[in-house]
């Protein structure tokens, strides 16, 4: 049986991992390659590295890091942050990334999804969506949650699916950093409406939250950062717990 995946996410700035709470207040948390290898040895199923560097030099550092991860880590990994055109995708894949995640660039230029799927295959293309639930429903945001758009989460996710996205990585801005659980209702609706896997992101605080994302939200994978980085939840114990809760995970 296909396992539900646990994915630690590493935000990387100038070659170092950081994690924001509600997208601000960054804290240092170590060397991304070392951390990635440690997670792999603990039983993480995949890794996501997000480049949150703005400068040109930082980007170069990130590409070097991707090459090091590819050489040293033996599980699949996704890279994202600052990917805005096909050339960026090509650069990341040839540095050794298995998948790329695109966010704002896909909303600005949805055709990018088609291009990635056509040139490299759907399995390479993860479309990340940051959305907030407000009086108008679930609204998609750009630039790490700073700029609201006209787009509705479900409409956009369906469009991305149709254009050839391989997975949807959905971060609820209402839940991110709050540690009170994932947005299970919205996740379940995405699982129902899409024909591709959904990765739950934003809100993990305890092991029960992961169970609920799978059992109630029907997510295919769950992503988290700080609960793993600061050792609040260990991946081996999380997987033992999920197995005991009848969620199929890789042990």
């Amino acid at each position: 049986m296909l396992a539900k995946r646990i994915i630690p996410c590493l935000d990387v700035k100038d070659g170092q991992t950081v994690k924001g709470t509600n997208f601000v207040n960054l804290r240092q948390a170590g060397d991304p390659v070392e951390l990635g290898r440690a997670y792999s040895e603990q039983g993480a199923d995949e890794l996501v590295f997000l480049d949150i560097t703005a400068s040109h030099e930082g980007r170069k550092t990130f590409t070097d890091m991707v090459q090091r991860v590819a050489a040293e880590v033996s599980i699949p990994f996704t890279v994202g942050g600052g990917i805005s055109e096909l050339r960026d995708v090509e650069k990341m894949l040839s540095a050794g990334a298995d998948k790329v995640s695109i966010n704002s660039a896909a909303i600005r230029n949805p055709h990018l999804i088609d291009e990635i799927a056509y040139n490299f295959g759907s399995q390479v293309c993860v479309v990340a969506i940051d959305a907030r639930l407000d009086e108008n429903g679930w609204t998609c945001y750009l630039n790490g949650g700073r700029i609201p758009t006209e787009r509705n989460l479900f409409d956009w996710a369906k469009e991305a699916n149709q254009r050839g996205a391989g997975e949807i990585l959905f971060t609820s801005m209402n839940h991110d950093g709050v540690k009170a659980g994932f947005a299970n209702e919205a996740l379940a609706r995405l699982a129902e409406e899409l024909s591709i896997p959904v990765i739950a992101s934003g809100g993990a605080g305890c092991m029960e939250h992961f169970r609920d994302a799978f059992a109630i939200g029907h997510a295919d994978a769950a992503l988290a950062a700080s609960v793993f980085h600061f050792g609040e939840i260990g991946i081996p114990e999380l997987k033992e717990y999920l197995r005991a809760e009848k969620i199929n995970v890789r042990l």
């Binding site: 049986m1 296909l2 396992a3 995946r5 792999s40 199923d45 590819a70 050489a71 040293e72 033996s74 599980i75 699949p76 894949l93 040839s94 050794g96 298995d98 490299f120 295959g121 759907s122 399995q123 391989g166 997975e167 129902e192 024909s195 591709i196 896997p197 295919d220 994978a221 890789r250 042990l251």
Partner: protein, 213 residues
Amino acid sequence: MYSARLFVPLQAEKRKKMNVAVVKYNAGNIYSVIHALQRLGVNPILTDDPEQLQKADKVLFPGQGEASNAMRYLREHGLDKVITDLKNPILGICIGQQLMCRHSEEGDTDCLGIFDADVLRFQPQKHEDKVPHMGWNQLERPSSELFKGFSEGEFVYFVHSFYVPICAHTIATTDYIQPFSAALHKDNFYATQFHPEKSGSVGERIIKNFLEL
């Protein structure tokens, strides 16, 4: 315990001197196999030279891509015949495995015909049956030197939309939509549908077993 410790570096020492070739062609993700070999202490060569492929101790035929384009490239470069005629152990991975079969539904492609099997597209039976089959799934009934020391149900990493049904060459199965061939073996030809190079320590053991054949 003490002898086991002595044994490990000896094997690693042997691998360092091993002549391992990776087939160079137009498929993606070949470098992840090279990295996996390097992590095991092997220094592989990436080549499309027939002689180098023939005289290698072991050959790997990895990759991700589309079947008809890959076959066209292999034919144009004469690699189809070279691979089919190899006498040394060769391990096909993912699209490599599919190309070693008779025919693929992907692009209605005639393939190398090493394995007497056809490659079919997954047909989802219900909403949860997503294609591609992507992620960690379990190996059932692993029966080959490739899986020496394996127990039932170990997890390996898959990314594919096409599969090989269970056939006479099947040496492990996986269940997704229906049971299919996770790995094949015939004479000196070995193949896995999954990616051992991305399957953590389990995948590392498979590559190690292959190198020690």
